[in-house]
């Protein structure tokens, strides 16, 4: 559930933001109680799914402190891609080409996003995909990748179903029920129509809150415990 991501090509000069970030996570303590960590739940929209060619065109993020969604700390930017004519496809993303033409470029937005994240843990639904785009972006803009651990709500869902509901076979029937909105409906959370990356991040935040508090009520205390659930699908009662 928690993964560290590869070190960057260190021979290029890292941006100060990256250096500080990596410095912080060198001795990262995973044993503190969950509520002492801050999280940023985020969602990004891309021009396509190709990790090499496609570009990020919007980022939405929201903070979780004290295991509560903090509506006062949100992040939402559109990003002007380099290949602007590429963007007919982005209509799917509810973003107009006009909005993109007026948006700042990635080089401006990425540093802001990294400041917004700070040393918080990153949370996303199927976060691996977003992380790989994010890493590529930070690498191209700041010559380095972030060391913030990422937490995947989709994996949390699998863990929750295994542990709390006793589904040991998470293939087949349940497999296609792991989309953000299917899960939200399954657990009777408020469901929003998807409008933009920020609202997708909100939806993910509700899901994250749901799982983490359910786990907590089930006896899970620290971040490390969460890590164990993700790996083994059970935790020892403490």
């Amino acid at each position: 559930m928690i993964g560290r991501f590869k070190y960057s090509r260190w021979f290029e000069t890292q941006h100060e933001l990256i250096t500080k970030n990596r410095e912080f996570f060198k001795d990262f303590d995973q044993t503190r109680p969950l509520q002492q960590y801050n999280f940023v739940v985020f969602d990004m929209e891309m021009t396509g799914m190709n990790r090499k060619k496609d570009e990020i065109i919007s980022i939405g993020g929201i903070k979780i402190r004290n295991l509560q969604i903090d509506l006062g700390h949100t992040f939402h930017y559109y990003i002007r891609p380099q290949k602007i004519n590429h963007t007919e496809a982005t209509l799917v993303h509810r973003i107009t080409p006009e909005q993109l033409r007026e948006a700042p470029p990635l080089t401006e937005v990425i540093p802001k996003f990294i400041s917004f994240i700070g040393t918080d843990l990153l949370v996303g639904h199927y976060v691996g995909l977003d992380m790989s785009f994010l890493h590529r972006a930070t690498e191209s803009v700041l010559n380095g990748t972030l060391a913030n651990p990422g937490i995947d709500t989709m994996r949390m869902a699998k863990g929750y179903k295994r542990v709390m509901l006793g589904y040991y076979h998470d293939r087949g029937e349940t497999a296609h029920k792991l989309s953000l909105r299917d899960l939200s409906r399954e657990f009777n959370l408020p469901v929003f129509e998807a409008h933009d990356a920020l609202e997708d991040a909100m939806q993910t935040a509700y899901l994250f809150l749901f799982f983490i508090k359910k786990f907590k009520k089930g006896g899970l205390v620290s971040l490390r415990d969460l890590y164990h659930v993700g790996r083994s699908g059970r935790w020892t009662s403490r």
């Binding site: 509560q68 509506l71 949100t74 992040f75 939402h76 657990f187 959370l189 809150l209 009520k217």
Partner: protein, 652 residues
């Protein structure tokens, strides 16, 4: 949730699209009382101060007398129970709260710790608004202050009423339906016509006798051939104003030829024709023959626009058959006054006026038919009719009281006369749409058709030896009033009742104790008090559970203090002005009673419009959050009335 995105997505100074909270968060506030009353920019800034928390089922949120309340909790999903534990550690449930409800407002405003334990009974998401923000809102926005501080501020009541109207009154797509379904032929009334040679004065006399506004003029030799029409206006403009001789023939003032429509013409097309020609009286033709007249007034009444027109129409009826359809029109009229924003008190009064008038017309016509009665009498209206609190299709509850006969012969004649009189009256009332009373409390039952002295003995019996069970069935008699006839008889009986019951407090004591004991077995279901079992499981009997307690409360105290009014709201008002009940209790009871009456009237109206028989069973799921909350508040008022009675009628 609505998605009316009033807030423009304008990039802020640094290019970020949202320097604001997500719209989905604002949408929640926008749909939650009392925030929905606030302007949008305030909602956006409030949302930025909110946090969202999740409490799995079974989480304790607040603890009685311990928790400092730092935030107002607004339930977005799920539900909580509020309870306290008493001295013996038993849990006393206070209430359930669901989506849209809040937790902690009272504590924040009063600056106290939690006054209840709060625990989630479902997985629950809450918006948390910091204490300071709520206090600022209460200071700056009276809507917010009202909402929290006065459980029944007029403001909220008004909002609820308008919500009620909006939510429940839209089923019938449009009033214009009438216009597209009723034809001219269905509107025509009995045809009145006179020959053209008749004098103007003669025509006026006929119109006055029949209480009609227009008269057809036919050819002298061929009564079937209509040559023109005269209307009320003609007398003003063509006779009085121009000083014409009353003895002139009507042909000199008639409009000719008569404009006609075919009997199958729809109301809509008739109205169009009237509006385009400026002619408000049209002949209705069938198979080449004029069979009647249709007027703009007829169409307006048909549309149910005006209670006044219906009232006038009832008054003008000279035949029983003509009254029958008018009784059925009352619900249509009521719909309109509800739409215009009438409150329950006015609605039931309007219904009472119209129903009363039907009784008056039926009884006057009967009396004309049967000749004068042997002795004076008074037709009594009982129960909800007596209190002027009928809604739709209420059973007949009536009785007859007549002056004590002077001799045996008169006694026999009175018995015979009133027996026949009552039987016929009740039959006509059934035809007008008032069903028979299942308990046979009607004037045709010999027991309830008696001279004054016998009635006095009935009441004396209830006063002196009240049998609780019998009393329960007799309460409707205490709400009698005069419907027709010699009112003095009803007045005498009322005076006697007050005088006798004052001598002995036994009757009012029993009634009072009954009010207090009337805690029916209720179950709390999803925020709501509903019937536990039977046909109406999970529904609320709004009449029995909600309204009757107030009616009983007012009746008991009215009897105790010799108040002559029978209407519940009137009784409460006099009790307050005579300082028998405190002003705040008065306000609370009136609000609670009127609100529930409104719910009931609208519920029944929507049933009638769907073609169902109206009843008193309300399904909680069909109510909005606000309505549910107000209903819950109304039930707490019942408890207040009971503890008030407890002081007056302490258990022996």
């Amino acid at each position: 949730m609505t998605n009316n995105r009033k807030h423009p997505q304008v990039p802020s100074f640094d290019g970020s699209v949202h320097a604001v909270a997500p719209d989905v968060a604002v949408d929640f506030l926008r749909n939650t009382m009392p925030f929905k009353e606030l302007p949008d920019d305030i909602l956006y800034s409030l949302a930025r101060h909110c946090r969202i928390d999740f409490f799995p089922k079974g989480t304790r949120i607040l603890t009685y007398n311990e928790s400092e309340i730092t935030h107002l909790y607004l339930i977005q999903r799920g539900g909580v129970k509020a309870f306290i534990t008493d001295a013996e550690d038993k849990i006393v449930l206070k209430d359930y709260r669901g989506v849209g409800a809040n937790i902690g407002a009272l504590g924040i405003i009063r600056g106290t710790r939690a006054n209840l334990n709060i625990e989630t009974i479902e997985d629950t998401f809450c918006f948390l608004l910091p204490r300071e923000n709520l206090l600022n809102l209460v200071r700056e926005y009276s809507v917010v202050a009202h909402f929290y501080l006065k459980s029944f501020s007029d403001n909220v009541v008004a909002t609820a009423y308008s919500e009620l109207r909006r939510n429940r009154m839209t089923r019938r797509t449009t009033d214009a339906l009438y216009l597209f379904s009723v034809t001219a032929g269905e509107l025509t009334k009995t045809l009145h016509a006179i020959p053209g040679t008749a004098s103007i004065q003669k025509a006026a006399a006929i119109m006055t006798d029949h209480a009609i506004g227009s008269l057809l003029v036919h050819d002298d030799k061929e009564p079937g051939s209509v040559v023109g029409i005269i209307t009320d206006t003609d007398f003003r403009t063509k006779v009085v104003a121009s000083g014409r001789d009353y003895r002139d023939p009507v042909t000199t003032i008639m409009s000719s030829p008569l404009k006609t429509v075919q009997s199958q013409t729809l109301c809509f097309d008739i109205l169009l024709k009237m509006m385009s020609t400026g002619i408000h009286h049209l002949g209705v033709e069938q198979d080449g023959q004029v069979t009647g007249i249709v007027t703009s007034h007829d169409i307006m009444v048909q549309q149910g626009n005006s209670p006044y027109y219906l009232f006038k129409e009832i008054v003008a009826q000279s035949e029983f058959q003509g009254l029958y359809p008018l009784g059925q029109k009352i619900s249509g009229i009521i719909r309109n006054i509800i739409n215009e924003g009438a409150k329950a008190g006015n609605i039931t009064r309007m219904i009472a006026i119209l129903n009363d008038q039907i009784v008056v017309r039926i009884l006057s016509l009967l009396q004309e038919q049967m000749g004068p009665p042997p002795v004076k009498y008074c037709w009594l209206l009982l129960g909800s009719e007596g209190r002027r609190e009928q809604t739709f299709k209420t059973d007949q509850d009536n009785a007859l009281i007549y002056a004590d006969p002077e001799n045996e012969e008169q006694r026999r004649r009175a018995e015979d006369y009133f027996k026949l009189f009552a039987e016929q009256a009740i039959e006509h009332l059934v035809h007008c749409g008032y069903p028979l009373c299942k308990g046979d409390v009607m004037a045709r039952n010999p027991k309830w058709c008696q001279p004054l002295s016998v009635w006095k003995s009935y009441f004396l019996n209830w006063i002196n030896a009240p049998d609780p069970q019998e009393l329960l069935n007799s309460t409707i008699f205490f709400d009698f009033r005069c419907g027709f006839g010699t009112e003095q008889l009803a007045v005498d009986l009322r005076e006697y009742l007050i005088e006798q019951s004052n001598k002995k407090g036994l009757l009012t004591y029993h009634l009072g104790r009954q009010c207090i004991a009337n805690r029916a077995p209720l179950s709390l279901f999803n925020n709501f008090i509903v019937e536990k079992d039977g046909e109406h499981r999970d529904k609320l009997d709004i009449k029995f559970r909600g309204l009757t307690p107030f009616v009983d409360f007012a009746r008991t105290l009215a009897l105790k203090y010799g108040i002559r009014e029978t209407n519940t709201l009137d009784r409460l008002r006099v009790l307050m002005t005579e300082e028998k009940i405190p002003r705040d209790l008065y306000r609370a009871t009136v609000d609670a009673y009127e609100f529930q009456m409104q719910l009931r009237v609208i519920h029944q109206l929507s049933q009638i419009e769907k073609g169902d028989f109206p009843d008193n069973f309300i399904h909680p799921e069909h109510l909005t959050d606000l309505e549910r909350r107000m209903l819950r508040d109304a039930f707490t008022v019942i408890e207040k009335t009971q503890s008030f009675l407890e002081n007056i009628f302490p258990a022996s």
